[in-house]
């Protein structure tokens, strides 16, 4: 496994005070918290930061970690030396607050042993299994048509020696038409197994949309930007428009302007009532690359006196 330089992750020196480590953690946590951050690797980074803080905030773990010595470098192949944590007195995990199940193998190898945990989270006398939560990213088309999607979840699983391993679990899930971001799909009995005769918990999947090449959804409404020619906008036309369903013919009214918004009723995401599709017009001008095209533009300039900057006082 790879050595993790927790000081490097936290951006502090090895002799940093506990206060300094705490300040650094707060700052990084705000920056990379997956609910807040817009960084693409936020989730990964946040886990790293949490793991580093888990060790460095706890004087016992920090001392044990420091005891590994300074010869290790981040990313280096690492095996914990035998008896590396001998001679430390363990109050035992009073500082273990977060969910450590998703931490690295490196963390697990050093601190995964039972004596680092005071209370075993999974050992309570709960008969019914825990409910589990996960987020899934789906395409807008799937939300429109409904779909069956294969998803892979990483599930923590206790091993006989008291460690926790992540296991991959594959599920096929039906995405009902009309789901929207923030909504959850509850799969009864698909959470953690119960103890004894206890029933398993439920699995909640929170919906999130992938960003789409053409459309963007707000509530049940869907927005599309549609390029049109100047003559289609000026004279009116009937044009073919993509929707999440089949393409439809839409009438562009005579005298339309760029930015004009047209509504296709009921063509948004399904529901009671279904959403609408809004089409925002963008006027594209053909390039004047031939003598003929140039002549047409010159003729327009002569015959269509028009100052689009009139309201700017210029």
């Amino acid at each position: 496994m790879e050595f993790k330089d927790y000081y490097e992750v936290m951006g502090v020196s090895r002799d940093a005070t506990q206060d300094k480590i705490k300040r650094s953690y707060r700052k990084l946590a705000r920056k990379y918290h997956p609910d807040v951050s817009k960084e693409t690797d936020a989730e990964e980074r946040f886990k790293e930061v949490q793991e580093a803080y888990e060790v460095l905030k706890d004087p016992e773990k920090r001392a044990a970690y420091d005891n590994l010595g300074r010869q290790w470098h981040s990313g280096e192949e690492f095996r914990p030396p035998p008896g590396w944590d001998a001679g430390f007195e363990f109050g035992g995990g009073g500082f273990t607050a977060g969910d450590t199940r998703e931490f690295s193998d490196f963390f697990e190898a050093l601190f995964g042993g039972r004596h680092w945990h005071r209370a075993d989270r999974t050992g309570s006398f709960q008969l019914r299994g825990e409910d589990r939560h996960a987020r899934i990213l789906i395409d807008l088309e799937d939300a429109y048509h409904g779909a069956a999607r294969a998803i892979t979840l990483r599930v923590p699983e206790a091993t006989p020696d008291g460690h926790v391993r992540m296991r991959e679990r594959n599920l096929n899930v039906r995405i009902p038409p009309g789901v929207r971001p923030g909504q959850q799909i509850r799969l009864t009995g698909q959470g953690a197994p119960g103890m004894g005769d206890g029933k398993p918990g439920d699995l909640y999947l929170e919906i999130e949309f992938k960003s789409h090449r053409l459309f963007y959804a707000e509530g049940r409404d869907v927005y599309l930007e549609l390029p049109v020619t100047p003559w289609e906008a000026a004279l009116g036309a009937t044009v073919s428009v993509p929707t999440l369903g089949t393409k439809v013919d839409m009438k562009i009214p005579k005298g339309s302007q760029a930015g004009g918004r047209l509504r296709l009723k009921g063509r948004g995401l399904p529901g009671q009532p279904p959403g609408d599709q809004y089409v925002v017009l963008r006027i594209m001008t053909p390039p004047a690359t031939t003598a003929g095209a140039e002549a047409v533009y010159r003729k327009m300039a002569k015959e269509l006196p028009f100052n689009p900057r009139a309201n700017m006082g210029v």
Binding site: R26, A29, R30, H33, D35, V36, K38, F46, Q50, A97, G98, R128, E130, D131, H133, A148, R169, N170, L171, N172, V173, R174, P176, G178, V179, R180, P181, G182, Q183, Q184, I185, R186, L187, T188, Q190, D202, L203, Y204, L205, E206, S211, Y216, A217, E218, Y223, E225, G259, V280, R282
Partner: protein
């Protein structure tokens, strides 16, 4: 463990779904007192006047979980979390809108 190849169908918890206090507690694995504190802060707003009659919209689930994560990971108190949860919802909407405008209208 053998894995099911069946396609699972679940119930969609949307804003028309109605969760009781007990269901919400169970789904989020927390005590009712904490949800009651969140109600007092306006983080989630049930219909009904007394806790036994409370019915939460499905969106409450997301807000409670978000609150728990923010409290746990960033050590924000409940009043602060209430503000952050509201702002995050607004931010998410704005980000999606900005992304669309940047990609299309402003190109």
């Amino acid at each position: 463990m053998k894995q099911s190849r069946l396609t699972l169908s679940g119930a969609v918890i949307d804003e028309t779904a109605e969760l009781t206090l007990g269901e919400l507690c169970r789904a989020c694995a927390i005590h009712a007192e904490l949800i009651m504190d969140m109600v007092a802060e306006g983080i989630v707003e049930p219909r009904g006047s007394e806790p036994p009659d409370w019915r939460f919209p499905g969106t409450a689930l997301r807000r409670v979980e978000l609150t728990l994560r923010l409290q746990r990971d960033l050590q924000i108190n409940l009043a602060g979390t209430a503000l952050v949860v509201d702002l995050l919802e607004e931010l998410q909407e704005l980000r999606a809108r900005v992304q669309f405008f940047e990609r299309h209208i402003l190109k």
